[in-house]
């Protein structure tokens, strides 16, 4: 295996790159924990790609066939309910980790020189992630998805000059319908993944080139090599994340609402609302004019993208205050939106499919094995570290394993 690896790296002239990567250090300080969220975001993006590709084998992207095909995936295709649940849960977890990663990067000022471009690629990835969320929401073609997309697609129309055109481009027709679905599908599985791959590649390349940033205020307690010491820990965190994720996806399978029937219009279901990460925008649209909401969001985006170029002074407190303000506004709007939802009983016609007890037991076993593997990786890393210390003449006990 190692010989193959050496031959390939030699053939591709990658020895120099690998040698540099081997030396890449990761510093230890009280904020080190935030580093893991970047890796977790990447891990869940990979899960989204894999589960998304699997769903493509059976999904039918048309207003007539979409809902039925998702229903078929959930009820007829072996493990279809699990893969669809993983894709839906994974999308939410991916965005949650991305938000944590982004705000931690912001507050730790990791975007500062020379990482400005890295930050900008991160902002592009945030927009792509929200784009994935928006376009993917309509694909099951259920009532909630239809009306949430209707609101989302129509909102830009209220913005003067280009708004109407943007809304039409999103919908692909005068009204949300089959043309919108195929357009969303094209963006969700074609355009966005391609751009995402390129931007993620650029983002990761820059991490490799510049290394992880150490906050200026942090007291560095030491450092470790990325590949030999930090990466095993990151892998262990991924495995722990995966174990928790698969259990959630299996125990709380994602539901499928009633199909939206174009021929027979229906009222929106009670409490129609978008996913949690769009709730702040949904609430903003309830309480203020669209142009004002868009202006606010636009200003936020511009500030967010150019933040590294504005933040030049070592003791700049303005950015921290602005960051906290943005977080508070988003949190307040989200809480307000959820608190205004009225309690409703079980929605009729909602499909919920779960594997039988044998499958659930197997998933539990799989999750426990993931945790165990994470534990083994951590032990192996500890042992390796001790051996290295001994080789380097460091004092300490002989490793017990």
């Amino acid at each position: 295996m190692s010989q193959w690896f050496t031959s390939i790296t030699h053939a591709l002239h990658l020895e120099g790159v690998l040698a540099a990567l081997k030396k890449k250090p990761v510093t230890h300080h009280r904020h080190t924990i935030w580093y893991y969220f970047g890796g977790l975001t990447l891990f869940f993006l990979i899960i989204q790609f894999v589960t998304g590709i699997l769903l493509l084998f059976y999904y039918v992207p048309s207003a007539e066939g979409a809902h039925e095909s998702v229903k078929r995936i959930m009820t007829e295709i072996p493990f279809g309910w699990l893969i669809r649940s993983m894709h839906s849960w994974g999308a939410n977890i991916f965005i949650a980790f991305m938000i944590i990663h982004m705000f931690s990067t912001f507050f730790l000022r990791s975007y500062r020189h020379p990482r400005e471009l890295m930050w900008i690629t991160g902002v592009i990835l945030m927009l792509l992630a929200l784009g994935f969320g928006f376009t993917g929401y309509l694909l099951p073609w259920d009532e909630t998805a239809f009306f949430a997309t209707q609101i989302g697609a129509e909102t830009p129309a209220e913005v003067p000059i280009l708004g109407e055109f943007v809304a039409l481009m999103i919908k692909g027709a005068k009204e949300v319908g089959g043309a919108t679905l195929t357009r969303m599908f094209a963006l969700h599985v074609g355009v966005f993944p391609l751009i995402t791959l390129l931007v993620v590649l650029a983002h990761i390349t820059m991490i490799m080139l510049f290394g992880v940033s150490t906050p200026k205020s942090a007291v560095v307690r030491g450092e470790e090599k990325y590949f030999s010491s930090y990466l095993p820990k990151e892998l262990a965190v991924w495995l722990i994340g995966f174990a928790v994720f698969i259990v959630i996806a299996a125990l709380y399978p994602w539901e499928l609402g009633r199909a939206y029937d174009m021929a027979n219009p229906t009222e929106p279901p009670d409490n129609v609302h978008p996913e949690w990460y769009f709730m702040f925008l949904f609430q903003t649209l309830r309480i203020m004019p669209e142009w004002m909401a868009f202006l606010g969001f636009g200003l936020f985006l511009v500030f967010w993208a150019v933040a590294p170029f504005l933040d030049r002074h070592a003791k700049n407190k303005v950015h921290t205050i602005v960051g906290i303000f943005i977080l508070l506004v988003i949190a307040a709007m989200t809480v307000m939106a959820y608190s205004e939802l009225e309690p409703v009983g079980e929605t009729p016609g909602v499909l919920k499919v779960q594997g039988d007890s044998d499958v659930l037991n197997a998933i539990w076993f799989f999750a426990v094995m993931s945790l165990f593997t994470a534990f083994v990786i951590l032990l192996w890393r500890k042992r390796n570290k001790r051996l290295q210390e001994l080789e380097n003449g460091g004092a300490g006990e002989q490793p017990k394993i």
């Binding site: 209707q150 129509e154 909102t155 005068k174 219009p265 009222e267 009670d270 409490n271």
Partner: protein, 146 residues
């Protein structure tokens, strides 16, 4: 002299790039921005007994709400909320219209209630009654913006 030549070369390069890029951008732009025409107009029929006390139907591409008022009068309105195009519901208890998406409200004549999100009224449509059969057409009952 050298600089001038370089500038000319840069200009030629830029023009060539624009020459090849512009038609591609134009064609792709036209391709993705094609919006199919919607057939406007049309009518739909339903039985008066189906309106109890309201019924959502589609007339052509347009969702329409047909309502039966307390005095037995049957009226039809466009059901698309003028705020963000959700579909409105008729509330028989209060004889008004409500949009669940952003809590838009319209009075019994489909006029948007000030202070709620919609800025324009619903359009009242023409209803023709022939015995038990109702024919709803997309012709506004009153001239719009009257």
């Amino acid at each position: 002299m050298e600089g001038k030549r370089r500038n000319v070369l840069k200009g030629i390069f830029g023009a060539t790039a624009a020459f090849f890029t512009a038609p591609i951008v134009y064609a792709v732009g036209r391709f993705i921005s094609h919006i199919p025409d919607v057939k406007s107009g049309g009518s739909a029929t339903l039985a008066a007994s189906e309106v109890a006390p309201s019924k959502l139907i589609r007339v052509g591409e347009e969702p329409v709400v047909v309502i039966k008022e307390k005095d037995g009068d049957i009226r039809a309105f466009t059901a698309t909320c003028t705020h963000l195009k959700c579909i409105v519901s008729y509330r028989p208890q209060t004889s008004d219209f409500f949009c669940k998406c952003h809590r838009g409200e319209y009075d019994t004549n489909g006029v948007n209630v000030p202070g709620t999100r919609p800025k324009r009224p619903l359009t009242e449509l023409t209803v023709n009654k022939d015995g038990e059969t109702l024919t709803i057409s997309l012709t506004p009952l009153k001239p719009q913006n009257a």
